[in-house]
């Protein structure tokens, strides 16, 4: 079956992003397809390349980066949610006249329409995190 996964909470502040990654791995292991992984609300922090983890801790953005690129998956970070929370690519920072970028390479910034389209094209939609 085709799945769309929606992640709405940030790593560290919530377990949800980590749960979503484990679920995504289990999905592929069982031979299912991932239509799209979409990061919304604070979930955009999952795509922050500048989140650094001490040696003995998991670096979730790095893990998402590896998982998405190794499996050639489609990962989208909601642009409106991301730029407000400081998750940006070079194109956006240029647009706003600031320096720097920190979006993981494996994800792209785009609109909620990508989430809607993916859900419409999937057999199952599973969401992780959100709330307060």
């Amino acid at each position: 079956m085709k799945f769309t996964l929606l992640i709405q909470s940030a790593p560290i502040d919530s377990q949800s992003s980590a749960t979503a990654l484990r679920f995504a791995r289990a999905l592929l292991a069982k031979g299912h397809e991932i239509e799209r992984i979409f990061f919304y609300r604070s979930g955009v922090q999952s795509a922050n390349r500048l989140a650094l983890a001490p040696q003995d801790e998991t670096n979730l953005p790095l893990e998402w980066q590896s998982f998405i690129s190794e499996n050639q998956l489609d990962a989208v970070v909601c642009i409106a949610a991301a730029i407000r929370r400081g998750i940006v690519n070079a194109a956006e920072t240029a647009r706003y006249g600031v320096e720097g970028d920190n979006l993981i390479e494996a994800a792209e910034l785009s609109g909620l329409g990508q989430l809607v389209a993916a859900c419409a094209a999937s057999d199952r939609v599973v969401t992780f995190g959100g709330g307060a």
Partner: protein, 94 residues
């Protein structure tokens, strides 16, 4: 496949109202999976309150927190995937 819902609950007793909404929304044939902090509902103390619902608890989260599920089935991540397959939709109560 019948039209049923997998309810996924990831918060514990601090958010009792969330469990209430989840249970209010539960229809015959649905299932309720406790994950993350939601696994505390799987303990003995809440067993009677939840006896009419088809409940599951995610093993890695039970283990992490040192909680034993009381009279409900535990699943691993592969089992979590199966639950999503077997029900036509999921609702995450979060």
């Amino acid at each position: 496949m019948s039209d049923t819902t997998l309810h996924i609950l990831n918060r514990g007793p601090n958010q009792a109202e969330l469990l209430n909404h989840c249970l209010d929304s539960y229809s015959d044939g649905d299932a309720l999976l406790f994950i993350e902090d939601g696994i505390y509902w799987a303990a003995e103390h809440y067993a009677e309150q939840l006896s009419q619902f088809h409940c599951f608890a995610l093993k890695p989260d039970l283990e992490a927190r040192g909680v034993s599920a009381s009279g409900i089935q535990t699943v691993d991540d592969a089992g979590f995937v199966d639950l999503c397959i077997n029900h036509s939709r999921s609702v995450s109560w979060t």
